[in-house]
Symmetry: C2
Amino acid sequence: MSLKTLATSLGLSKTTVSRALDGYDDVAPATRERVKAAAQAMNYTPNPIARRLSRGASETVALVVPAEPGRFYEPVLVEMLSGLGETLAAHGYHLMLMTARPGEEEEKVYRRLAVARTADAAIVVRTRVNDPRIALLAESGFPFVALGRSETPHRFAFIDGDAQEAFRAATERFIAQGHRRIGLLATSPKLSFTRYRRAGFSAAMADAALNADAVAECAPTEEGGAAAAAILLASAPRPTAILCMTDRIAIGAMSAMRGLGLRPGVDVAIIGHDNIPASPYADPPLATMELPLADVGRGLAQKAIALINGASPEDLCEVRPVQLIWRASAGLAPSDGLLPIKRDSSMGGENET
Amino acid sequence: MSLKTLATSLGLSKTTVSRALDGYDDVAPATRERVKAAAQAMNYTPNPIARRLSRGASETVALVVPAEPGRFYEPVLVEMLSGLGETLAAHGYHLMLMTARPGEEEEKVYRRLAVARTADAAIVVRTRVNDPRIALLAESGFPFVALGRSETPHRFAFIDGDAQEAFRAATERFIAQGHRRIGLLATSPKLSFTRYRRAGFSAAMADAALNADAVAECAPTEEGGAAAAAILLASAPRPTAILCMTDRIAIGAMSAMRGLGLRPGVDVAIIGHDNIPASPYADPPLATMELPLADVGRGLAQKAIALINGASPEDLCEVRPVQLIWRASAGLAPSDGLLPIKRDSSMGGENET
DNA sequence: TCCAATTGTCAAACCGGTTTGGACCTCCCC
DNA sequence: GGGGAGGTCCAAACCGGTTTGACAATTGGA
């Protein structure tokens, strides 16, 4: 099953057999056929590791997932994974998964990647506003594509959803529905998507001369959403609408509302982001915003391959639109021909926290 | 940065440098220190691909995920992934992810894996009652661990949850609460866990001399659960309790109940399996069964490594307990000191579908 | 008829490590 | 002083491919 075995059994040299199988045109057609038939018969497959060594490429793309000890940080990534894996495989690349806790370990993992060239390129997810991983990879010249922008001062390839615009649009829609006191359940300000989503929210509020201070930070989980929502709903004046940075947060927040005797979508409007599978089946169905992540995965793979083939990162920056998906949890919009939820909850003085 | 460079710059041979770094004891302590210092200083890391070639091992474990074109089959697997990746990394193994649609492609992927030895071992998930992947790997002598049992006639290493027992216990509890007409929302009978879970349900029903024919098959998604639950709830006599093979199915089923004006946990008791993060935050909180998947991932990694090191598969079979998590969706249990839901819905003649 | 040009093949070098089997030196003991 | 035992170190082979450069055989043109 090694090249040499095959070659001697054919009475040819390794060179000729190798070239015959690789489709070089300096091999006689008859020989090529004979070789191919023999390879097929002997069930020969070139040893990928040997090929990688001589080619000097690992034919592998690495995905480093920031993980807390016990569990991956974001199940949402799974959908992206499928598009990514598929497209990479179609181009002959393997997908290697590495986990790293943010912190010292993370830096070690990335440094090893860049130095040892375990992979030909990397995918970086959950970009942070100031991201040491991006700085490290960019400075070492290692090809990588990020899911999400970052303010790190380097030019790099990325795909990001325009959640800023989506949050602005959702906020405007809430305002149009008559809401005046609107809250935001935000993820960590270190994550770069937090900044964009918040900016969209703040911009819309500012445009309407509304106070955008009903903001609570929370962990990106149902639990985090429930806890933070409880705080937000206890504040006065109580928000009548809440935007959540993820659907999981929103699902937790709705649970908290029920616990307080408030009906999501009736007493308090709420919208999330991600359109996770459970969202349409929540009670009430959760309004949300969607960036098709499987497509994004495919795009990341394509960009990674382009980089490996020498494309320059500047040409591989892409912001994709995020679609608003209005469902019952967000109340009924004026465009639906029904009365907007009108709840002008005493917004006279809106300077207090 | 290559071994040769490092060696010549030190005035030593490749051999000595290699052995010094690998901790062989035929290197003078002074030399070893000198070499280590130089390696550190020059930021030297052995090229992993070269090492793999000469060692004849790929230091990689493959996980082949059965995927539909657009998305991974089961987001639940993500939690398992974290434990798996972590433990593998701790032992110096990489985790390679491959996707394959069940069918021709799947066989090709597995065959390539076994022949080309792209990986040292494989993890097989979503085992089927009659699983060609297991047959293929077992026959080719490739080391692998399965998540879930299979009736394929080969001895192989696996970890499985004892969902059969959990489903039996849950069914018995429903019966103790007074339910007589109990339904089951089942996944594909090809999946091996389907068979065990159903067996547990059927056994408990048989023990109570109840008719276990209120069974509907559905896709393992919220959508599938909603559709199948609608059918089950339209049957007469209507089930007063439903077991679902996954939480996602249960969440879909609860949504269908609400659509019919039925209150989950009050009019119809319901329980799922998996304890996904959204379950405690469903309305009402979803009762479920749990197998700690991150732990299972760690276990799979350990078994895979054991196999690579020569352990025999027969010694690596493990069935882990599955814990019942009773929540409001399942109604209140007698042990809670409250009245069981008593709903002896005319179970006189229970021979009809 | 003779000299290119072309075609088909191969030996050898290379990728960057690990491992084998000595070589050389020193020390110790008889 | 001879011989065995260690302690250090290294040249060379090997892992299994790819690629380079050269060689022999054939073809084509002048």
